[in-house]
């Protein structure tokens, strides 16, 4: 039976209570550092920080409904070689799933890492979060959780969480050492903490917290949330099929693409050091552009935008965790996430694979079986 404990919430302040907990975790001598999102002292934005002194967790706010980047890439930087210390990382479920993909792609290591996950209720788009934080300052997080947990309303102050979060069917952290439970917990009184591994047990055992059973309402709360998210997701898939179902539609959908490659940079699982799209393969001869234009009368410049997106789908869609950072990063508001999730759902299904689910399942394009997909080479297909 897993250890489950509670951390008291005082004065209705979830953020402060969580900070106390995180300080006590980082205070343990064997843990060298903690990667956690904080309000930066110089400006009221929330960014991942690497903290070694528990006292420097004053601004820690991992629950902030802000998602400026997928921190899986940062954990990859910290774990691709031994760092000499045990690092605790407080991550969103989609960051954990992206991290799992990176481990399988040999870009990160699970050793000497303690993963602390929390029930994720979503985050705003970057631009929306800035509006919220400018208005509510430090209280933005508290206000958000009061709204979504107590009133069970996913839109707060008429600004909605990002589409990726609305369509996310993985609000619970998977593959972590410690889960911070919010769903179904009486968050006015306490947050519910669960040890998921022996490592997690070990840490919680040293904190002398009061044990408490899993909140009875938790399953129901998770079910309700999933129902809502899946309905949104499936509607999104349908709408995307209609919007991109043939090549003219896809070209229209991607018309605003300027080859900035922000979506690729923001993508946690696009890990190639040098993407083929920035190599000289795409330094076309000037005369080539004229030949294209002559053939089609008119070509959109820059070229290779549709090619880029379809190729990226082929290269990474089986690893797509649906975090939505691609859409977040697009300067021209192309709904990239909607397209990639829709296609990724298909490609992952084709290989009975789910990105981020399990460290033991090899990425589909890295393995094969002799006895599979025989219909592809049947003579009279």
């Amino acid at each position: 039976m897993a250890t489950t404990v509670k951390i008291e919430v005082k004065d209705n302040d979830i953020v402060a209570s969580l900070q106390v907990f995180l300080k006590s975790v980082l205070g343990q001598p064997r843990i060298g550092a903690m990667l956690v999102s904080q309000h930066l002292p110089m400006k009221n934005v929330v960014m991942p920080t690497l903290v070694t002194d528990p006292e420097a967790l004053e601004g820690a706010d991992p629950l902030a409904p802000s998602f400026p980047l997928n921190a899986a890439k940062l954990v990859s930087r910290l774990t691709r070689k031994p760092s000499g210390a045990i690092i605790a990382a407080v991550l969103r479920p989609c960051e954990i799933r992206a991290f799992v993909e990176l481990v399988k792609l040999n870009q990160a290591g699970r050793e000497n890492l303690i993963l602390i996950g929390f029930d994720c209720l979503g985050a705003y788009k970057n631009s929306d979060y800035l509006k919220v934080v400018n208005k509510d300052g430090d209280k933005a997080t508290q206000k958000f959780y009061e709204q979504v947990l107590l009133k069970n309303d996913l839109s707060s102050e008429e600004i909605e969480i990002s589409n990726a979060c609305k369509a996310c069917e993985h609000p619970l952290p998977e593959g972590v050492d410690i889960t911070i439970g919010l769903l179904g917990a009486p968050v006015k009184d306490y947050l519910w903490i669960k040890a998921d591994t022996a490592e997690g047990e070990n840490i919680l055992a040293k904190l002398n917290l009061t044990s408490v059973d899993e909140p009875p309402d938790r399953n129901r709360a998770v079910e309700l949330l999933l129902e809502k998210r899946l309905a949104y997701r499936d509607r999104m898939f349908e709408e995307n099929h209609l919007a991109t179902g043939n090549i003219e539609k896809l070209t229209t959908y991607l018309a605003g693409c300027v080859n900035c490659y922000n979506c690729r940079v923001a993508c946690p699982v696009c890990y190639c050091r040098e993407c083929v799209f920035v190599t000289d393969v795409f330094d076309h001869e000037p005369a080539q552009y004229l030949r294209w234009s002559n053939r089609k009368k008119l070509i959109k410049m820059p070229t290779d935008t549709v090619f880029y997106h379809i190729t990226r789908l082929a290269h990474m869609s089986t690893a797509c965790v649906g975090c939505g950072q691609c859409s977040n990063a697009c300067p021209n508001d192309i709904p990239v996430m909607e397209l990639f999730r829709t296609v990724a759902h298909k490609t992952q299904q084709a290989f009975a694979y789910e990105a981020g689910r399990n460290l033991d399942e090899p990425p589909p394009l890295s393995v094969f079986k002799e006895d599979e997909f025989k219909e592809l080479t049947a003579i009279n297909e």
Partner: protein, 140 residues
């Protein structure tokens, strides 16, 4: 459309299907001239982007063809190719490319007749399917 002559891009492996095509030629077998062969060392090196680029440049169909299972010169490149074709067959139909336009076959070095037959049949199939809509559209 009777005067439609499809363009088929075929990525064929050096050791099996290219040799089969060569055999078809030296055996004076007739097959349609619609196919443009691209010789690769192994089907396992056909990156999905080669196939995507072919389609976006207006190819009416793409054939990837290599050695029979167990015969791969590089042991298992053809199995890797099969996974990639499976992947493409999930992605491309999303954007209106009919599944028939992408084909994977195993044609061994001694199968000159089968090579000629495969190309003839593919040309017939694509003729009845009609030209790819990318051909005339602005898609780069």
């Amino acid at each position: 459309m009777t005067d439609f002559e499809p363009t088929i891009i075929a990525f064929v492996c050096n050791w099996c299907t290219y040799t089969a095509a060569d055999l078809a030629g030296t055996s004076r077998l007739m097959y349609p001239a619609n196919v443009r062969l691209v010789r690769v060392m192994c089907t396992g090196m056909v990156d999905p982007k080669y196939v995507i680029k072919s389609f976006l440049e207006g190819a009416d169909a793409v054939l990837v063809s290599g050695c029979h299972p167990g015969d791969c010169h590089y042991i298992n490149g053809n199995f890797k190719a099969r996974r990639r074709i499976k992947l493409l067959k999930e992605i491309l139909p999303q954007f209106g490319f009919e599944n028939k336009r992408l084909k994977l076959t195993w044609i061994g070095a001694s199968d000159g007749i089968q090579f000629a037959d495969t190309i003839s049949k593919m040309v017939d199939d694509i003729k009845s399917l009609g030209p790819s809509r990318v051909k005339t559209r602005m898609v780069i």
